[in-house]
């Protein structure tokens, strides 16, 4: 009997002894619900096979992503060890102490040389030019364009276009051509429309869309180091850019006032529009014949240049950060060591993830892997982003409130909308003591 009890006690002791480390060898990464999160789960399965550490990528719909993540951060919860957070969160999350400072890790691995410069600047560093890093660039992304090659290459259409506009019909090189092509293909009587652009004002859809025009027209949102916005956000260039975006809205399909990435892919798959704006991360669905019956005739191009030749695009994508309240910080750090390896980044790109590794991006193999990787590579070296200050959410909502009525309903003028926005942003920066 004594032996049985001793054996049982030993068994229980062994179970606890094995149980504790097994528990710490589990990591949870929080991200939004989209294809790259599925690719990341595939990638981390390989990490588990290699190391025995189970990594789960937990997802939530985009609309809830920010709210859910910050609710957990605010509660100092340890549900997530790492988060692939949006680029504009970095100021709010780092100043509030939600993210672990990764500066030492970043410098040790010379990541500012390894990763594409724009991804380091916008996904990792805060404040700007401070040399302090809070995340590792994970999913590079930017806005690009898809178009209907069969419509563009139809000889009759080409002839008619040339007769009307005086130049050849081809993927647009600048925003003027983009506008002309959108106008040319806009045929409501045939249920064919010119262009699909972002208009959803719930989060950053519309703002990202307009940023594509603003940056390429040579404009800026403000001075990110001095917080000066007057004369910048409401500059002549930005007014022209916003007017052009409003004009493009006139060539979108009916009911296009709340459209974001899902609808913009549907514009191509459902024969609605000749051209469609979207993040590169959503393009895999467009080359897949199972999700796009027009896959064979879908082409891609980078955001066109503005009137003065400036060519930029709005940055998407995210960096991966360690959550301060994680109980597995050391394990998470080990995971990041694995994640930044060249071979892991290469595999990440093979699975469909958009690596930020400059070496992989520059490789011929990557650029020829899909019809849009080359455009992605070109774009990732000319991207700009929204404010990453802690009050970014207020700035985002104010921008939506000011420009949405103008873009979708033609209320007021572009100048009035941007002047009012400059006033709002000034008041917000004043409230938070930025100047």
């Amino acid at each position: 009997m004594r032996k049985t009890v001793a054996g049982l006690m030993a068994g229980i002791g062994f179970m606890f002894a094995c149980g504790t480390p097994a528990q710490s060898q589990e990591l949870t990464i929080f991200w939004a619900e989209w294809d790259p999160a599925n690719y990341l789960q595939e990638l981390v399965n390989e990490y588990e096979a290699e190391t025995g550490v189970k990594v789960t990528v937990e997802t939530t719909p985009w609309a809830d992503f920010q709210t859910k993540a910050f609710t957990e951060f605010n509660a100092k919860g340890s549900a997530y060890d790492m988060v692939v957070g949006d680029s504009q969160w970095i100021g709010a999350a780092s100043e509030a102490g939600h993210y672990v400072d990764l500066t030492e890790f970043f410098n040790k691995h010379k990541l500012s040389e390894v990763m594409a410069p724009a991804t380091v600047k916008y996904y990792s560093e805060y404040p700007a030019n401070s040399g302090k890093y809070w995340s590792i660039p994970a999913e590079g992304d930017a806005v690009g364009w898809s178009y209907r090659k069969d419509w563009f290459e139809d000889p009759k259409e080409m002839e008619a276009f040339k007769a009307k506009y005086g130049y050849d019909l081809a993927p647009p090189k600048d925003w003027k051509q983009l506008r002309d092509i959108a106008e040319f293909f806009h045929r409501p009587d045939q249920k064919r429309y010119g262009i699909a652009i972002y208009t959803d004002n719930s989060y950053d859809g519309l703002v990202m869309g307009v940023e594509n025009a603003i940056f390429s027209f040579g404009g800026e949102l403000g001075d990110y180091s001095t917080y000066k916005v007057d004369g910048i956000i409401n500059s002549e260039k930005n007014v022209k850019a916003l007017e052009t975006y409003r004009e493009l809205y006139g060539f979108t399909p009916p009911g296009w006032a709340k459209s974001f990435f899902v609808e913009n892919n549907q514009a191509i798959t459902e024969n609605l529009a000749a051209m469609s704006m979207n993040y590169f991360a959503f393009f895999p669905a467009l080359v897949n014949e199972a999700s796009n019956p027009n896959a064979k005739v879908t082409g891609f191009f980078a955001n066109p240049a503005g009137p003065d030749g400036d060519q930029y695009a709005a940055l998407g994508g995210q960096g991966i950060s360690i959550v301060s309240y994680s109980e597995n910080k050391e394990e998470a750090m080990k995971f990041l060591e694995w994640f930044i390896k060249d071979e892991t980044q290469k595999r990440w790109a093979e699975l469909g993830g958009y690596t930020a590794s400059a070496k992989v991006l520059e490789s011929e193999e990557f650029q020829n892997a899909t019809p849009y990787n080359k455009a992605f590579y070109e774009t990732m070296f000319k991207v700009k982003d929204f404010w990453a200050t802690p009050e970014y959410a207020e700035l985002l909502i104010q921008m939506n409130q000011r420009i949405y009525p103008y873009v979708t309903a033609g209320q007021g003028t572009a100048k009035e909308a941007l002047d009012a926005l400059a006033k709002d942003w000034n008041a917000t920066f004043k409230k938070y003591g930025r100047h």
Partner: protein, 301 residues
């Protein structure tokens, strides 16, 4: 005999005979309920009132600083907030009026002997049994200018309901009317069936016309129950969030609850949003108070 004995006992003894004394009932049911109310209702209410006088932001680890009435002052001077209140008021008026007209009208039609009356009534109640999210998504498809059945049925071509800033609020209200008119209908039916038949017979003998009968007999007698329906629907419409949020994202449909949600959970202006929540609470209480006073007057008549 046993029944006689039981009824002759006082309440204390009756509870005791079932094994539950008053003290036990208090300890088992009343105290936990009061505690539950304090923990989940009263405490957050008081706590959030405290936050409404601070600049607290839940997204930061910074402590809350007392700012007095600043949040209230700023909110009441914010033209965007007043625009949100105006949108909410417009929505409440359109939606509740529509529900009362459609619901009461349907009840009048059903308040007569018709075949399959029970089945028709049950089918008409179906919309309010659906979830708001499902109704929102369903109507979004119906309103679609390219393939929605509404434009097809009404011959409106590619008329934009949800993308049109002037029409979007009405589109949300129409959906709400579709969903909640059955509720008004149900209450009205109950009221109509309680009107004594002999009053109509007397009116018929006096050769009273249908309008006279309606305004002098039907409406006054159904009014109290109709007022209850109006109070419920007004309160619900005032705090509408889901339908407007799912159907559109127009500034013209940004009712006050959507603004409050954005302020609290997207901008993380916790103190300010608590102040806004209190302003909304005071307004709802004031409106409800007016309704209840009016209801009491109607009942006294």
């Amino acid at each position: 005999m046993a029944t006689v004995v039981m009824t002759s006992l006082d309440s204390k003894s009756r509870a005791a005979s079932r094994g539950l004394s008053d003290i036990k009932i208090r300890n088992l049911f009343i105290i936990p309920t009061i505690l539950f109310l304090i923990v989940f209702n009263i405490f957050p209410l008081i706590y959030s009132l405290g936050y409404s006088f601070t600049d607290f932001r839940a997204s930061t680890n910074a402590p809350a600083t007392f700012v007095g009435l600043q949040n209230y002052r700023e909110l009441l001077n914010d033209p965007f907030i007043w625009a949100n209140f105006a949108i909410t008021a417009k929505y409440v008026i359109v939606s509740v009026t529509g529900q009362v007209v459609v619901g009461f009208g349907t009840a009048m039609l059903l308040n007569r002997e018709i075949p399959y009356k029970g089945l028709i009534t049950t089918l008409l109640l179906l919309p309010m049994m659906l979830s708001m999210a499902v109704v929102g998504l369903f109507w979004k498809l119906l309103y679609d200018p390219s393939f929605g059945i509404i434009n097809y049925a009404l011959g409106l071509g590619s008329f934009e309901w949800l993308a049109n800033p002037d029409m979007a609020l009405y589109a949300v209200a129409i959906t709400d009317i579709w969903m909640w008119s059955p509720f008004v209908m149900l209450l009205s039916l109950a009221g109509l069936s309680a009107v004594p038949r002999h009053l109509y017979e007397a009116a018929a003998i006096d050769r009273a016309g249908p309008f006279y009968t309606f305004f002098r007999i039907t409406l006054p007698l159904v009014a109290p129950i109709l007022m209850i329906a109006i109070i419920f629907r007004t309160m619900e419409a005032f705090k509408t969030f889901d339908l407007a949020y799912i159907l559109t994202s127009q500034p013209t449909t940004e009712v006050i609850s959507i603004r409050l949600y954005k302020m609290a959970f997207q901008e993380w202006q916790t103190g300010r949003s608590c102040a806004l929540a209190y302003i909304v609470l005071i307004m709802v209480l004031a409106i409800t108070n007016i309704y209840v006073k009016y209801l009491n007057r109607v009942k006294e008549r």
